[in-house]
Amino acid sequence: MTSTSDRTAESTAGLPRFPMPRARGCPFDPSPVLRELQRETPLARVELWDGSTPWLVTRYADQRALLADPRVSAEMAHPDYPRQAPGIGSLGFIGLDDPEHARQRRMVGAAFTVKKVEAMRPAVQRIIDEAVDALLAGPRPVDLVQAFALPVPSLVICDLLDVPYRDHGFFQRSTRTLVHRGSTGEQRAEALGALAEYLGRLLAAKLDDPADDLLSGLSARVQAGELTHRQATEMAVLLLVAGHETTANMIALSTLLLLRHPDQLALLRDSADPTVVTRAVEELLRLLNITHGGRRRFATADIEVAGQVVRAGEGLVMPNDIANRDPAAFPDPDRLDITRDARHHIAFGFGVHQCLGQPLARLELELVYRTLFRRLPGLRLATDFEQVPFKHDGFVYGVYELPVTW
């Protein structure tokens, strides 16, 4: 194990700080520093916000192997865990290891099976249709983030959890504080506390008035003694936050990318073959991979990685966005090619913590792409590309605003 004094010496020796900024004018591409590390130093020490110096793992094969390795822990509350930011102590089962992780995750697994999500198709389509109706009836130009990208997944997850959509201003604002890198630990803890209190109240109300929704299901688990109220609340916060923020960013960012690639957009919009859209979903997930904070883990045993040894207790940071640009896994990785087979990307992570909501995210993206560009064939950016505000300061990448017209 590396001693504390070694770590101090190393961190003062000018290690690269993670995360690294993107190159100017290349808002869709990972930092050039990440590319160089992937090529030259696939296992590299970096320094985080709190002065800790975990390993940064940049190659696709190494990330996949580590994320699936049972000797690697995701225990967020452990002192060896390389923390994403101050103010987030724990966040449900994503910060736990098996078997407790699997026990809790399986309690909500029923809602996210491929079959169950497929049954939501008409409801999701209706939400998207109504959002496009509202766009068509509203003013132009319009901010696509506020008018479409954020409401669609928020309405979907509200339906699934039975959270009143009228509270969207509150939970979207709190989520923004959570994922904004500039938030202080206090601000983040306060936002998390407010979300927990809100969802805790909804969970308690479900005890008396259960229905066929996810919160009622969690509430019943509390009543049966299978979850504490706190565990159920954390899970509800996780589902609400992860259920809207990620998909919202993906919708807005991928729309912008497609507007910059009219040939690909035309192919997506005009093809009669339904598999063109489902393939495009995978390629856009691969290329944009909007969770840019780097998956965090630590080794619980000595593990060989890229010809070196990561010692037990050492932290691991694995930015999936650079792994998805690894030429060893994806030929010509920086090119958007919606016809390529990108299905093995790790935009949803890898290992037992891989995103539980991925069938729902895929369905939402598929239906958005099938609907938005066909009903608004003249969709275009209503500002200079250089003026679009990208979320360079977020763990979840995207755009703050996307002014469009048609």
């Binding site: 699997a102 996210f112 169950k116 949803f348 539980l356």
Partner: protein
């Protein structure tokens, strides 16, 4: 090709169902994998190999038919 699945390892991400729906399904109660066909016909082998490759939990093991 002979397929075995490890229900304990499965994390219910559903990738196998999306990739090879004739061979894999999920339990309604928790999303854990259900093996519909442990010895699928040859035309399904490529999809099954893809499913095993994208399984995040290494819960699908293939024997032969490569």
């Amino acid at each position: 090709m002979k397929i075995t699945v490890d229900e304990d390892k499965c994390c219910g991400a559903g990738s196998c169902v999306l990739t090879a729906p004739d061979v894999f399904d999920q339990r309604d109660e928790d999303g854990v994998v259900l093996l519909l066909d442990p010895e699928p016909a040859e035309h399904l082998h490529a999809a099954v190999r893809d499913a095993a490759n994208v399984c995040p939990a290494a819960a699908i093991t293939l024997d032969g038919g490569a």
